[in-house]
């Protein structure tokens, strides 16, 4: 039975996305419009668009589901997702914008004068990008089959993937900026309004969190915790089931488990904070700012916008545990991951049809979440193909018209591959896939950017060795974990004997990030003679104020000779 409210809101979101996309596509004409939105997006629009792009399916549905399932430990996710931005602001966003490179590959080549390094970086952008599109596609597919119970999983993947690909192909970066800004505010509305209404009807955040607290409520006033919900001891306190899984599987006592949990927590924090600072689709957005100061101001606003957003999903998790414990019975997308969409329906019991209306609003927010993150990823991957592979490697002499066509063809190509991949990942967990993408980005891009911007002694070989070493060891260890979880490798007994190794493989950032940085330093010292000769000039471009006019733009309106 299809709920008309849910159907109506979702259809409206998709229609508004397409409509806005086509409307602003009419104003995208030049290559710079397509790649960097004419490099003229104002702070307010850009901050809303980055936030819209950043709040993915994992943030909108996954965080609430994880808090509901795991309790306190899952709070690290929203906090670190938001705080990773601070690292971007402190160390990366301003210099990167000043450097004027459009893509990470541009940056890689510009900093090290090495076309080879550009190729390595292109491969990495596409790889992390596809890794991160898979969970978005999976979210779209599962939400779709929730709204239309009869329809298959692949229909949602196809619809959302198709709409976004069309949007990016016709409007490029400028076309999606407006759409993503709209989608941020839709998501904000969709997560906050149901929370306020639910709290007004069913009691506040603190009341639900403390409803089983013996000291605050005498037994006769205390609400009995639903049978299926996890008890306070394991849920509300730190070091719960999320971080102790490996140690618990090894059969350690509770006291023995605690150091392992602490280690897991630290590794998770490093992965999330450094991973945020290294996701290519977020970095690309800084180039749409007019200058480095605007880039910094944008980051500040992004932090406020996503920080306010992230206050809400944990509230859904807390309310869900008390009010809707039925969700604990099923797993993944049919279980707690659905809490944001399902919880508002409780209002229907007393206040028909407001529960359906709010649930419809939440579904609209979920659709906005899949679409905006996917469109950001699509633009950054399309940029890598059209700008780096076609415009720089295959045909550097291409005209403006050819570059535009290359952008559109690449968008369709990347979109098609992402849809095909998305159809194959129905079995995997959304948060798990996002976590892997973060772990890899944290150990490759973040060390690369941080060290390249702040250490003049870096050489191309040091950068490449560190990025590949860190990224590949993160990839290898998370792959090992997922293969054994999917029962493709019989490692269960081994993990039970070695909980420490299990944690280091499942959550590798605590050793892969230092590994990448140490490799960079050692290899760079060994190849000291290869430090680019004009390193001082490059550092000046990174760090000198813009008004000196030193930067070189990598995406230009005209490809003619540059004025001296």
């Amino acid at each position: 039975m299809i709920d008309l409210w849910i159907f109506g809101f979702s259809a409206l979101t998709v229609a508004a996305t397409l409509g806005l996309g086509f409307w602003s596509a009419g104003k995208s004409k030049t290559t710079a419009d397509f790649f960097v939105a004419g490099r003229s997006v104002s702070v307010g629009w850009n901050a809303s668009a980055i936030s819209g792009e950043y709040l993915s399916a994992a943030s909108f549905m996954g965080v609430a589901g994880m808090v509901m399932k795991f309790g306190y430990d899952a709070l690290w996710y929203p906090v670190c997702y938001a705080c990773g931005y601070l690292f971007l602001l402190l160390f990366i966003s301003g210099p990167l914008r000043r450097f004027g490179a459009y893509t990470i590959p541009d940056f890689a080549e510009g900093r090290y004068d090495s076309p080879l390094f550009r190729k390595i970086a292109v491969v990495f952008v596409l790889f992390i990008g596809f890794f991160y599109t898979m969970p978005q596609m999976k979210g779209a597919g599962t939400a779709f089959s929730y709204i239309f119970p009869g329809l298959p999983y692949w229909a949602g993947v196809l619809l959302i993937g198709g709409v976004v690909t069309l949007n990016v192909a016709v409007g490029g970066m400028k076309g999606i900026t407006l759409v993503q800004a709209f989608q941020y505010w839709l998501k904000m509305l969709a997560i906050s309004v149901p929370v306020f209404v639910l709290m007004a009807v069913h009691g506040s955040y603190g009341a639900h969190l403390g409803s089983n607290d013996a000291a605050a409520y005498p037994p006769e006033m205390r609400r009995a915790l639903p049978e299926k919900a996890p008890a306070d001891a394991k849920w509300i306190a730190p070091f719960g089931p999320l971080t102790t899984r490996a140690a618990a599987a090894a059969g350690l006592s509770e006291e023995q488990q605690r150091p392992y949990s602490l280690l897991y927590t630290y590794s998770l924090i490093i992965a999330l904070v450094c991973g945020t600072a290294g996701l290519p689709h977020i970095l690309v957005r800084f180039y749409t700012n007019p200058d480095g100061t605007a880039a910094k101001k944008t980051t500040m606003w992004v932090m406020i916008l996503i920080g306010v957003f992230y206050l809400f999903p944990p509230i859904f998790g807390v309310l869900g545990r008390d009010l809707f414990p039925e969700l604990y019975a099923a797993a993944g997308a049919k279980g707690t991951d659905k809490v944001v969409l399902e919880l508002p329906r409780l209002l229907n019991i007393r206040h028909q049809p407001y529960g359906s209306i709010l649930s419809g609003l939440a579904c609209a927010g979920a659709f906005a979440a899949f679409m905006s993150t996917f469109s950001g990823l699509l633009v950054s991957m399309t940029g890598a193909l059209a700008h780096d592979v076609y415009g720089r490697m295959l045909k550097p002499s291409a005209t403006e018209a050819e570059r535009l066509r290359a952008f559109k063809v690449s968008a369709v190509l990347v979109g098609a591959v992402a849809i095909a991949l998305g159809m194959r990942v129905e079995e995997l967990d959304i948060n798990f896939m996002v976590g892997q993408a973060f772990a890899i980005a944290a150990a490759s891009y973040f060390p690369l950017l941080f060290m390249s911007i702040w250490w003049r002694g870096m050489t191309m070989k040091g950068a490449a060795a560190g990025m590949l070493g860190g990224g590949l060891s993160a990839l290898a260890s998370v792959t090992l974990t997922s293969f054994s979880d999917l029962k493709l490798l019989p490692l269960g007994p081994f993990w039970a004997g070695h909980p420490l190794l299990r944690i280091l493989c499942e959550q590798p950032a605590i050793w892969t990030v230092p590994l990448a940085i140490v490799t960079m330093v050692i290899v760079s010292k060994a190849t000291r003679s290869e430090i680019p000769a004009d390193i001082r000039d490059k550092m000046l471009v990174f760090h000198a104020p813009e008004r000196l006019g030193l930067k070189k733009e990598y995406v230009r309106e005209h490809q003619g000779p540059k004025p001296a």
């Binding site: 306190y72 709070l75 906090v79 670190c80 938001a82 705080c83 601070l86 690292f87 602001l89 402190l90 160390f91 301003g94 506040s204 955040y205 603190g206 009341a207 639900h208 969190l209 403390g210 409803s211 607290d213 000291a215 605050a216 509300i236 306190a237 730190p238 070091f239 605690r258 602490l262 927590t265 630290y266 924090i269 904070v273 100061t293 910094k296 101001k297 980051t299 500040m300 932090m303 406020i304 920080g307 306010v308 992230y310 206050l311 944990p314 702040w454 004009d534 001082r536 000039d537 550092m539 000046l540 471009v541 760090h543 000198a544 104020p545 000196l548 006019g549 030193l550 070189k552 001296a564």
Partner: protein, 90 residues
Amino acid sequence: MLESPGMKTGKLDLEKLMRRQLELSISCAAAFLSVLLLLPLANYIFPEAMARRVGGFTLTWLILGLLFFPLVWAIAWLFIRKSIELEAED
């Protein structure tokens, strides 16, 4: 490729600017990291104190789930103001 009148004389100034920008970034990062990294440690060492109830919340939930965000905003705001000031000075 990069020629500007200030290039040669600007060498020393750049080093100064870079060092001061980096110092600013590092001190802001240190303020942020010390809270972020000490919280799990506090949970580990003082489980009872961190589980004290404040209006239904446990103390540690209140810090991580609510109070952490304003702290980060304050650090970011301070950083941007100082960083723009630094650039304007040189």
